[in-house]
Symmetry: C2
Subunit: 300 residues, 2 copies
């Protein structure tokens, strides 16, 4: 098992997207700056979603104009359709991440089309993407369970991943437990099966909704995954479970991984401080175990 | 890996012990009755601790006089010294669980003696225990880290477990992450090493203080453990981290295990209801992911 783990901090996008409060462009830029200073080397900075659907992401272009230019940090912009990809290509994002839900039901609700039609949207933009020099990743959403369909068979994930890998030249394939319903045996099985399809690096996105996120990370690691999404203070929540926990907290993930001998490059204290700062702006408490209990041993 | 998992519900003792509010004998008996009705087959019902140290446990004998007599349920009484064991033997508990901290610092603070002197206390009571027909288990406390000493080497746990196994005929050896600082690699390593010492069944006791409890359960399962402590609503807390999460919640554990194909014999809905009922009495919110988000799929 690799002990060098890459953390992709998704606070500015997945962490903030669910919040009713619109965070100012200035505060988003400060958040991104703080995350980079804490050691994050890949940051999901913005979403090129229609501003009517997610008003708090309406300033994506303005954010990307003002983030610090750092050779050592790669900024990711999320896209949900062809238009979103083309918007991303006009900005300074280093990577485009396209969201492809496994179930048609979630695809329709989230992006207004079937899984197949969304894959076609991605394919439409491939020539522009290839000419841009930007990296391309795809996130397979609701891969562990869907709020509309219910159970999602691993076979469906493998089938759609296979079609996608044949259709598009990916730099990375991310697989998301969008509503935090995954369990570790499922996670290991799923990542082993998808990992067998190609040499494209896999990334895992877990929510701690039902307290299984760290377990799922360990299981995905056993299947060879070494790239994980997280959000400071566990921001992110779940629109389908109001009041529940959100993304696995960056500080919980960093602490647990490093205590088991891994390296992440993230400064734990800075991650906790950044979580306290942004939750202060949002008027809520940090949702991480480490923010509540402190690290062990103390002072790490 | 075995898929039949035994859950030991520790709500009446470890769940309530930290609470400032003294729960009435009547409510304790109802709690125990509800847990048994939910399917718990082993329940940590009482602690024979000095009432000055833990006032809320002062009614241990009265509780044991009133719990339902059930052939299919085994009641566990906790003991911290010879006197506690002898008190337990005068009651209807089916099992005595003796607490032996790995570090002298915690042993002194928790039980007023060194680890060695507490082992001697256990040995003093062995003849009475053997004549009683009651089962004996020992919990090795602070085996994953100590609030006073800091890091606890696995070698120390293995050494003390070895001495204990030579000294006393145990029906079970429990190993506790008393302050919730364990991580999965550590858990698997620790349980593999202690498991290699004898054929005595192992039990694992995890707290979700830093969101690693379910991960640690999965890791202990990989090391062969199939007995796990938990508490409804995640009650239990940690006196060293006020406001932090407590024991791994019975409902989170049952949901995660059963979703991965295990059987626990616990009815999930009843566990959630019992957690809501007892936290209502305590005037607090349930601390479990399942209570906040519901199970997945819904209605399980």
């Amino acid at each position: 098992m690799s002990t060098a783990i890459d953390i992709i901090d998704v606070t500015p996008r997945d962490g903030l997207q669910i919040e009713k409060q619109v965070v100012s462009t200035e505060d988003k830029v400060e958040l991104i700056t703080r995350l980079a200073d804490a050691g994050a080397r890949r940051i999901e900075a913005v979403s090129f979603v229609h501003p009517r659907r997610v008003p708090t992401m309406a300033d994506a272009e303005a954010v990307m104009e003002r983030v610090p230019v750092r050779e050592d940090v790669s900024y990711i912009g999320l896209a949900l359709n062809t238009r979103g990809i083309l918007r991303a290509l006009e900005t300074s994002v280093d990577e485009v991440n396209f969201v492809l839900p496994i179930t048609d039901a979630f695809a329709e609700a989230n992006q207004g089309g079937s899984t197949g039609s969304l894959l076609a949207e991605l394919e439409t933009a491939l020539p522009d993407l290839e000419g841009s020099g930007k990296k391309l990743s795809v996130t397979l959403a609701v891969a562990f369970g869907c709020p509309y369909q219910g159970e999602v068979p691993i076979a469906d994930v493998v089938r759609i991943a296979g079609t996608l890998l044949d259709a598009a030249p990916l730099d990375e394939l991310a697989i998301a437990d969008t509503i935090g319903c995954g369990v570790p045996g499922q996670a290991q099985n799923l990542f082993e099966q998808v990992g067998a399809l190609s040499d494209v690096p896999l990334r895992a996105h877990f929510h701690d909704t039902r307290r299984t996120a760290i377990a799922n990370v360990a299981a995905a690691r056993a299947a060879g995954v070494r790239r994980f999404d997280s959000s400071v203070a566990g921001l992110g929540g779940c629109p389908f479970a109001p009041g529940a926990a959100g993304n696995v907290a960056t500080e919980d993930l960093v602490w647990a991984l490093e205590r088991d001998g891994c390296t992440t490059g993230i400064d734990l204290e800075s991650a906790v401080d950044t979580g306290r700062w942004i939750t202060g702006i949002l008027g809520k408490e940090p949702g991480s175990g480490i923010a509540a209990a402190g690290p062990f041993p103390a002072g790490r």
